[in-house]
Symmetry: C2
C-alpha cells in the first residue's frame, strides 16, 4: 500500500480533473451507477467525538474508496486539529489496498468546494456579476476561489461573524468585507459556508432571483437559511435523503413548506438542466455525499498511478 | 500513523495477552460495555468479491479499532491471496490514527483460534483427552495448537476432505489422520474448521457428551453440523444475532428445533459458567464478532506503544 501524505496529495491534485470526476459522480449517482456502503459510525462521550466510515464504488471504476474521518471537538484545546482521517483506495479487481491518502481533511474540503462550484454553475443567473460569501473559514476561501475560476465572478463580498476575519479574507482574495444587508442587496449568488445553528439569511433580506449555495448544514441542528426562505425557493439537494434528514431542506420539509419530492437532486439537474425563471430564488443545499469522496480520491490515485 | 507489517505483528503478538483480551472482550460485550459500529459492506460482481468494514470501542479503552477486509474469490487464479485488509488503531481521546496493522488476515485467524480455545475451555468435559479436528487449513492448525496449549489435549485426530493434507498436518503437529467415524468415536472435543456447505458431522455419528466447536460457518449457506445434531445439542453462540442469521444455530432455529432465546451467548457463559451434564452434546457456534478484532488489535498496539 502506498502511503500518501498531504503535500504529495496537494502536489498531484488536478482541480479540473477533480471537478469533472465529481460532476460525473453526481450524474452517475442519478443514473443508478454508484454503489454506496452503509455508513458506519461510532460516537464518543468523554471526550466528545465521533468517527464516520463511508465508502462506495462507481460501476466500472477500477478502484473503490472508503473514507475514515474522526472529529474530536476538544482537540484544539490540546493544540490539535479536531478532524483526522484518511481515504483508502482499493482495487475493484482484487481488493488489494492501493493507497492510503492521509489528506488531513483536505480532499473533503476540496470536494465540498467543487460541489459548491458545480451547483453554482447549474443554478446561476446568466449575467451574474457579484458573489457573496458568508463565513470566513476554509470553505469561504475555497468556494470563492473555485466559483471565481469556474464562473468568472470576481466581484466578491464577504460577511462573517468576525468582521476582522472577513476583512483579512477580503484582503487575501481581493474582495470586500461588508455588512450582511449590503451583501444580500448586491450579490447575485450567495454561498453560505458556516456551521451555524442560527440562520444567517432571512427571507426578507434576499432579493428575487438570488441564487444561494448552502454548504454549512451537514448534521442535524445546523441551519444557515431561514426556514421561510428555503420554503419559498426552488431547492436543489445533493441527496434527498440526507438533505431531508439534516440539510436546509429538512427545516422547510418539516415545517410543511415544501414536499420532499419537490426537491430536485443535483445529479438530476445536471442530467436535465432547468431554465430557472430570472426572479426565482434557487437554493442548492449541499450536505456532502460519498460519491464526491470516491471521485476525488480516484482522481488523485489516477495521477499517482500514472506517475 | 505507524504502518506495521505482518512480520512485526507476528513478532510482538503476545498470545497470552491476546487470549485474555479476547475473553475480556466477550465478557464486556455481555455486560454492555462495547459499542460496535454498523457494519459497512460493498459487494462486487465482476470479478466477484466483497468488502466489509467493522469497528468498535470497548468502554474505557484508550483506543478503538476498525477492520477493513476484502475477499476476491478469483485472486488465487492470479497467484494472489483472496483476502486482503488491515486493522486501524485510533486514539479514543483525539481520533488520531495510531497504527495501521497490515496483518494480511493473520490477526483475524488468531482471534478466531483464540475464540475457539476460549469456547473449548468453557464447554470441555473434565477428563477429556482426545481432540478431533475437521479440516486441514489455517484454522485447523491454529485451533489444534491453541487448544493443546490451553487444555492440554495433545492426542489429536485429524480428518479432511483430502487425506493427504490431513496426513501432512498430522505429521506437522504430531497427530494422526483418521476417517471421520473414528474421529467421532474417539474425540472428546471436535473442532470443525471448514467452509463447507454440506454438513460433515451427522447426528448419528456423534457420541453423547461430545463437545463441538464449529468455526467454519461465517456466511449464509455454510454448514458443518447436521441441523438435527445442532437441534439436539446445547448451543453456545458468539453472537445470537449473527449465529441465527448465518451460523450453525440458524439452521436449527429455522427448522424449529431450537428457540433463538435458548441459545447461550459465549459472554454470558463466561460470566456465569454452566456445569453441563456429562452426556450432553454441547456446540459452540462461532461466526466471529468485532470485539475479537478490537481486543487483538489493542493487544498488538499496547505492545508496540510500550516498546
Amino acid at each position: 500500500v502506498r502511503i500518501v501524505e498531504l503535500p504529495e496529495i496537494e502536489a498531484v491534485l488536478d482541480e479540473d480533473a477533480a471537478l469533472a470526476a465529481v460532476e460525473d459522480g453526481f450524474r452517475r449517482m442519478q443514473r443508478g451507477g454508484v454503489h454506496l456502503a452503509e455508513v458506519s459510525h461510532l460516537a464518543f462521550g468523554d471526550p466528545p467525538g465521533d468517527c464516520h466510515v463511508k465508502g462506495g464504488h462507481i460501476t466500472g471504476d477500477a478502484v473503490f474508496v472508503f473514507k475514515f474521518a474522526t472529529s474530536f471537538y476538544r482537540n484544539p484545546e490540546l493544540g490539535l486539529s479536531s478532524s483526522n482521517g484518511f481515504m483508502i483506495v482499493v482495487s475493484a479487481q482484487t481488493g488489494e489496498q492501493l493507497a492510503m491518502l492521509r489528506d488531513q481533511g483536505y480532499l473533503t474540503d476540496v470536494r465540498t468546494a467543487l460541489a459548491g462550484a458545480i451547483s453554482a454553475r447549474a443554478i446561476v443567473r446568466p449575467g451574474s456579476k457579484v458573489l457573496g460569501i458568508v463565513g470566513t473559514g476554509i470553505q469561504a476561501r475555497m468556494q470563492a476561489r473555485m466559483i471565481a475560476r469556474l464562473l468568472g465572478l470576481t466581484d466578491v463580498l464577504i460577511h462573517g461573524r468576525s468582521m476582522d476575519k472577513a476583512k483579512a479574507l477580503a484582503a487575501e482574495i481581493g474582495g470586500r468585507a461588508v455588512a450582511l444587508p449590503e451583501l444580500c442587496a448586491r450579490a447575485d449568488l450567495v454561498v453560505t459556508t458556516t456551521p451555524s445553528t442560527v440562520p444567517w439569511l432571512r427571507a426578507e433580506m434576499v432579493r428575487p432571483g438570488t441564487r444561494i449555495v448552502a454548504v454549512g448544514a451537514d448534521t442535524p441542528g445546523k441551519q444557515e437559511l431561514e426556514t421561510e426562505l428555503t420554503g419559498r425557493a426552488r431547492v436543489i439537494v445533493d441527496s434527498r435523503v440526507q438533505c431531508v434528514d439534516h440539510g436546509e431542506a429538512g427545516w422547510a420539509v418539516r415545517a410543511g413548506l415544501i414536499a420532499s419530492d419537490a426537491l430536485i437532486e443535483l445529479g438530476a439537474l445536471l442530467e436535465r438542466p432547468i431554465a430557472f425563471e430570472p426572479d426565482e430564488i434557487v437554493v442548492a443545499d449541499l450536505t456532502g455525499v460519498a460519491v464526491q469522496d470516491i471521485a476525488i480520491a480516484k482522481t488523485v490515485w489516477n495521477r499517482l498511478a500514472a506517475a
